[in-house]
Symmetry: D2
Subunit: 348 residues, 4 copies
């Protein structure tokens, strides 16, 4: 395309994911934000809801019912899980869609029904949807009309582990993932569990054995392993706004050692603009990717023979959500994949 | 004993562990703080170093060289690792000692030398020292003159796992422990890594595969398992002052399920004043033990067949250090074990 | 009284103030918690709502309508402002009441109506209520049946400033108070403004020129000054759970200097168990009173001639609420005023 | 200039200010980082010191003694106060300099000597230096060879107050400024006071009546007022990485009201790209400018008649330091002033 700007809509623009989409799109040289929806905040100026984004002439928030989709090139859906399927089905065919909810991530409707408690409501769209882990589905994303943006935890887990499973370097049946996340991963929904005093100065695990990102991880590991797998995945809530760290405990396979794993990752991601394999001995830290679209991955020897530790860090709202969504949009629209994503990490 | 007060010395009283000892001892009905040492702060009033403990008529800080040990009943050593051995060797025989450093925790001098890089300097004392995990060594602690207070991580790990290993409910060769700690675990030493901005709003793993609490954990698991074991142990630093959470991924043995593990723990700790096994479905949180001597333990099913997840939470400075030390002192001196340790958790 | 325990009820026990009352009362040697109410959580075990207080055999939560007041000696009301007046009016006369809401703090019903938007609903009780700033109303509190516990901000402000106004050392018409508070001051109510991500890593002022603690401060300053006053009071929200710091900018009067102010405060509070005037040059810090019933006060020279700076730190939930309430209960019931309030500050 | 890139050196590149300069310069379309100095880290790769800036081909750190200044267009000095004067004096005349220390901010050498305890070491350079508050000294900055970048606190204070003093709307002799800052303002220097546990979960004032930003504020207020002034300025440390909020209590003059103040600010800054006057009722928050070069200013009525409250928020490392420095560099080099400074605030 030329210098024309894509006309973009953001559904669910009053959440943290929506705000980070807007933050990044405002710096994107080929994007124009034409529509912002938020049912409960409809009628408000966007800067009333997010004062940090004031002064950019953004359109006011409207309800989905009031939205005018005509002329839009791309719509990002940042709505709560379970609400997106009928909405996307109702969009004009001409609109490309990046869905940031979980609604189109699981290819098998039976798995979806099992984990979400109701049947999928847009099966033909599901069949068409491409799983948006850019580094693994780039060709399909380029051609897609509907991309299911990965969950934040799956993004970090899969970037760290898929090359190792693919290379036969680790046993896909013995993956144990201990995950840590900042509170923005829970969104802006008003729940007691997300109050400052319920999270500040402490930590705890949640969704133990039941977190919905588990089937998503399993789907993609299984796709690479060539057979069903069950992974152990336990997320923890940390007293910080942004950031996600996954510590994966893996059993080595095929005679590989930690250095082989690191080499395989470095090789796989050598040409990737947003994945960085850190040197031996460097511990990936969420603060080193805060606000950026980067994923840092490190590999360490485990004390147990035949085992290793793989650690990955992302910003859950950027590479784990809005940044990856824009990366996918760029691909879908024929733009340079890195466009609008050049912001470096904010440390400290 | 009667209502007489124990005369107590605290070595290394200018650190966080020392401060928490003083905080707790000031509320102990049979303790009198008679000596406070801190070489670099010698000569200062204690409230200059810790204003939160002002107004209690505490003795001023003196150097170890100036210290008068005569008349002391108990000395707590809260000095950096590697400095305590000669000092304890020089104390009068009449003084009972609770050492909060790692200097006397490892029974095998070869293991000590391997992990600490120099030979042990007080081998006969080491032979005499009792490992101070109260719930497991209570009879020996009662008779001990020198107690090696456990490390903070080992305390949480061992309380959670020893009953399961002892009962043959989990495989001791497949223990994977992902640990999370607040920054006070690093003490008050002035290092760049502990600056607010290096820790705030982020997380990272440290000491991966090399943390010195690993051999301590292995020593005690091996003692119960009856053979050497190697554990996987990876600590993470979290942006909070206090609190330690360990998430242990275990392989079930002997046909046991998660409920069996929980029952075994509940049974083992039924009479323990400071260990609480939380109900099924409740996730232990560090904020629920903050400032208290409690350890909360929970058990969860893992998604992988034949596996489970055991989680324990403590305050690293209390049950993980100073509180346990006072618990041990009470035992060593024939007092009620819970004396001075009744403070409840400070939440929020 | 003898060793009998006071039978105590806590209304609004599911809030942070309620939890801190329970935390402190469980360590009080003459208190027995006999009733806990929380309308929305009625029927639940207390440890479900506050796991940090599990294991003490507390009564289950009941609704106010179900509550049995018979046999109670004292009731603490920790309910939202505006709901307490009819409830207290309905309690048996034999029950002493410490109200932690704002409902009985303002003596002038017209001022109450102006700031709370509706007429007072229990005027005769209001006439009877004693303002519970212990250090200033001790004799009346001893005789009171109903004590209106002060707000957290007024507590810190008044302890710092009343002796100076009373002594003619500062101009009561030029009091500027910049206040900073942790988030627990907002209670456990579920509002977007109190979500972790809305507060973490940032600060802002709120209630500027409109905060309801302003008339309360003015009432008490005026009582001492002998004429109406208007104060400037601006609170700020800080990313921490507990703690309140007030920085008061005062104009000196009567030829006084900063040292005179410090001496007047030290003199006034010399016999007070919970107020500590810190030495010249020491900056009061909220972390030095965290979890304790202490108030630390410091005085500093200002660069502007004829002015000074007075700083006070409290824990908003303890001296600013629950601790002060128990201090008042002790007085009302003829107990040692400090009973149950011996916990020292938790630092770090 | 054309598309050529400025060759840039950063002295003191291992501090937080240095890192934020590098972060911003890497996104600047006309900047090339050619030299990075850090005496204590000389010889290290930059990404060893700041992993969040890895992968950009930055030059390694060298000592000042080893530095090659030839060919440089601009040098930023981010060194500790008191060390810059001789270094700048030794740079080639062809190099433009933006100094981020306090070394050239005070025009009067006597005031400098009084506050810094030693005589100025480069008086002729001082005479030439332009105070770099861009919005007030833009024409002089364009022509300057040496710009003294303002302190973080003075930046927020002066942007908020200078238009009001200049317009005769407030009394310059009654300015009371209560300031709050994140810990990064203290730099990366390793001091006990900046340890996580000394700052986390608490707040306190520091430098009361003695902070060196006071004479800098007074110098600029006096320049506008036309006569010497003394201001009250009290900074507080908050448990957050970045962000600075100043709450100024002002006495109204010339019959002005709060709305007049807001209007005067809005008028003064209408064309400014980085200063935003927020609507009535909106409270400026540091989180709304985090990571960006913006300053938000709000005005509120005070309860005291004839007074008002002016609040300003900046990111201390960006608009308070590195961002402003680049803004000045752009002016000095004839570039668009906003170049490289388009990053929006990172919230949450």
């Amino acid at each position: 395309m030329g210098t024309d700007r894509l006309k973009i809509g953001v559904m669910g623009a009053s959440g943290y994911t929506g705000a980070d989409l807007v933050r990044l799109l405002l710096c994107h040289p080929h994007a124009e934000i034409a529509l912002l929806t938020a049912d409960r905040q409809a009628g408000k100026a966007y800067e009333t809801v997010f004062p940090h984004l004031a002064g950019h002439g953004l359109p006011p928030l409207v309800s989905v019912a009031e939205a005018d989709w005509s002329g839009l090139d791309v719509v990002f859906c940042g709505l709560p899980h379970g609400t997106t399927q009928p909405l996307v089905a109702g969009l004009p065919d001409s609109v490309k869609v990046v869905d940031l909810s979980a609604d189109f991530r699981l290819r098998d409707p039976a798995v979806y029904a099992q984990w979400y408690g109701h049947g999928h409501q847009a099966l033909s769209l599901q069949a068409e949807a491409v799983y948006g882990l850019t580094e693994w589905y780039r060709p399909a994303i380029r051609e897609a009309r509907l991309v299911a943006n990965p969950g934040c935890y799956p993004t970090a887990v899969l970037l760290a582990l898929l090359p190792l499973v693919a290379g036969g370097l680790v046993d896909p049946d013995a993956l144990i993932i201990d995950a840590k996340s900042g509170v923005s991963g829970a969104g802006r929904s008003v729940k007691e569990a997300n109050l400052f005093c319920e999270v500040g100065e402490g930590t705890h695990a949640y969704g133990i054995g039941t977190h919905r990102h588990m089937p998503e991880i399993e789907q993609e590991v299984a796709a690479v392993a060539g057979r069903p797998v069950a992974v152990s995945f336990t997320p923890h809530l940390l007293p910080m706004n942004r950031g996600e760290l996954i510590t994966a405990y893996v059993r080595l396979a095929g005679g590989a050692g930690p250095d082989d794993l690191r080499a395989a990752l470095a090789d796989r991601y050598a040409a990737e603009p947003f994945v960085r394999v850190v040197p031996a001995g460097v511990s990936p830290a969420t603060r080193h990717v805060r606000g950026s679209n980067f994923c840092h991955i490190g590999v360490f020897a485990d004390r147990r023979p035949g085992c290793a530790i793989v650690i990955a860090a992302i910003d859950n709202l950027v590479k784990g959500s809005s940044g990856a969504a824009i990366q996918n949009m760029n691909l879908m629209c024929g733009l340079d994949e890195t466009m609008g994503l050049g912001q470096l990490a904010l440390f400290p």
